[in-house]
Amino acid sequence: MTPTSPFPHRHLLGIAALAPWEIRYLLDEAEQWIALNRADSRKHDDRLAGLTQINAFFENSTRTLLSFEIAGKRLGADVVNMHAAQSSVKKGETLIDTAVTLNAMRADVIVIRHQSSGAVRLIADRVDCPVLNAGDGRHEHPTQALLDALTIRTRKGSIEGQVVVICGDILHSRVARSNMLCLTSLGAEVRVVAPPTLMPAEVERYAVAPYYDFNAALKDADVVMMLRLQNERMDGAFIPSAREFHSLYGLTPERLALAKPDALVMHPGPMNRGVEILSGVADHPERSAITQQVEMGVAMRMACLDVLTRGTRGVPGWA
């Protein structure tokens, strides 16, 4: 919170606001939680005891919500989930009213997912506690990018200099946006692959190399990160069919062979097996890091919850 602290941000709304050393600080902070989470018996640290964490999810989610809930509970917080997708928001209550309501309940940290870009920031501007963005529209999904970076760092030793290929629906993906920012900030060489209809305008401004040809992009790749193709994109509006997408952009064992022999396979989940990725690749015991991403997700979110609530908890140097 204080300007001299290693993470001088009230909220975590996106990777765009973070300096490289701040990203590295969060990754370093997550290491201790990896160890705790792997402990055989009690996985508990009660530093957030007495704090209330509200997970307000305006868009359906299972795994991200679960990950944040487990992360909060392992730190001892009182975790409450608000499934806003079925709540008064549907009855016309404005987002601002919802924010004011959450604030009046004296939450100590709020985790928000919303289907509209910028919505999380809108709420963050009107509450008194730290806000964590768990995904806003196509804009950002910072904890996903952080957990992906943590996974790569854990598996590869470092991120700098790694060739990372991100393939799929880049246009509609907040995961791709946060990952482009995070990985380039940490010194990786990032290539993004999509059909022309799913590539955002001026994507090269992220200092990434755009490719339409997946095979060409895979040359010398250290990491292949596949994105989920949403069902509603497959109906002919953006791509002709799921099978045509698979033929050009599906990650098969043959395609993976074009990357480096030890290339890591990642996917934020949930996967469309047979569309963007084949089971033989997704379940590969050495190459796939997909379940490890889930594991890193909990540790990463614990680190973020810990760091953002230090001011509230009066941790020396953070008040």
Binding site: S116, S117, R138, A201, E202
Partner: protein
């Protein structure tokens, strides 16, 4: 009504290119003489104090009759867009809207081109003209069906009504709320290429050619759009276009941080296109500068960017921002008043917007240099949704006369 002599004025006649010091005589609500040989003895003498005296601004395309904002902005007449609830697609509604501002402000309703602005069936254009409509407008949207648009234009041409269109190809725009580019990509906003405008204008010009209609593209915002308008004018077609100050002084970077006050329709464009707008003012491609006044409260604007309504409250800042064009040497003062007053009057078929004997005495006294700051929290408008909040500006209307009466 008696005789009023406005003395010590710098008279701004849009038909000329220079200000002339002198006296303007008003009688029975109309301009009686410019620099008369003698001032009648019974005249009430008004000292203009060296201010610029110009015809009142005629704002071609506003979305709300917002008199306090218009009065602050020196706007004496406005063409009201048909996007009302209910839509101005019925003679009774048009007649009602036309009466709404009088006597101190005149509203000239624009008839909805199609019923409910749905873009499918022709609205009763002739009956709405008889009820006071001064033009035909497609509303906030383009008419996607070319067959419908051709019939609208042919019909309006026979009625001698200008067709005022919104130029964005609907297939390209779909759900877009921004222009393709780095800002939209980084913010994750649905966006469309700027050629959506070019495509729409090209079609409407082609239809103007076959129907002989008078076409006015309310807001043109791209270099490609201006090129088409210029070519159509060179060809001799009755094609004109407008712009609003937002496109002259802001680019798409203004939507950074999801600023919904900068969510406009068409969306803000690239810096290259912004500069093309300035050039198009200077070289005469642009005929009209409009405020596109659309006050929107928090219920429409304090929302996630893509869910927020487009539009800005522009009436109060129209004159001050436009005066930048004079200070920067792109226009003369009378040249600016052509864009703000004379040309809109011509397109709407109004006997106004000029400084000649016999014209209605709709006059504004402009102090072109007075500094003030735009403050969205303290605006006269129905809402303070301006992307220019906090900007220091210069120039405003000190007095407004409508029909020979000061308000």
């Amino acid at each position: 009504m008696g005789v009023i002599a406005i003395e010590n004025a710098r008279l701004c006649d849009p038909a000329t290119d220079a200000l002339v010091d002198g006296v303007l005589l008003v009688e029975d609500g109309r301009i009686a003489a410019i620099n008369p040989a003698a001032i009648p003895a019974e005249a009430e003498r008004i000292d203009a104090g060296g201010l610029v005296v110009a015809p009142g601004i005629i704002d071609l395309g506003v979305f709300k009759t917002d008199k306090p904002a218009f009065h602050f902005g020196g706007i004496t007449r406005a063409a009201l867009m048909p996007d009302k609830s209910p839509v101005l697609d019925d003679p009774g509604l048009v007649q009602h809207a036309a009466r709404a501002g009088k006597p101190d402000f005149w509203v000239h309703p624009l008839a909805a081109a199609t019923r409910g602005l749905a873009g499918t069936e022709l609205a009763e254009l002739a009956m709405m003209k008889a009820a006071g409509a001064r033009g035909v407008a497609t509303g906030r949207r383009w008419i996607g069906n070319s067959g419908v648009m051709m019939r609208v234009m042919a019909y309006a041409a026979a009625l001698d009504l200008t067709v005022i269109t919104h130029a964005e190809d609907e297939g390209l725009v779909a759900q877009a709320v921004a222009t393709d580019g780095e800002t939209a990509t980084r913010l994750g906003l649905p966006s469309a290429p700027s050629c959506a405008e070019e495509i729409a204008i090209a079609r409407d010009i082609a239809l103007a050619r076959v129907t002989g209609a008078r076409l006015h593209v309310r807001l043109v915002t791209t270099a490609a759009g201006f090129a088409l308008i210029r070519a159509a004018k060179a060809e001799g077609l009755q094609v004109s276009c407008g712009v609003s100050p937002a496109y002259l002084f802001l680019n798409d970077g203004a939507v950074s941080d999801f600023r919904t006050f900068a969510r406009l329709s068409p969306p803000l464009r690239s810096e290259e296109d912004r500069q093309a707008c300035i050039a198009a003012v200077a070289n005469g491609t642009i005929d009209v500068i409009t405020s596109s006044h659309d006050p929107r409260g928090p219920e429409d604007k304090r929302l996630p960017f893509a869910d927020a309504a487009p539009g800005m409250a522009g009436a109060e800042t129209l004159l001050a921002l436009s005066l930048n064009l004079v200070r920067d040497g792109h226009l003369t003062m009378p040249g600016l008043m052509r864009l703000l007053s004379a040309n809109p009057a011509r397109l709407l078929g109004l006997d106004a917007g000029c400084l000649k004997a016999g014209a209605p005495a709709d006059l504004i006294f402009i102090d072109p240099d007075v500094p003030w700051r735009v403050d969205s929290a303290r605006m006269a408008a129905a809402a303070g949704n301006t992307p220019f909040d906090g900007l220091p500006v210069q120039g405003r209307a000190r007095r407004v006369m409508k029909g020979g009466v000061f308000y």
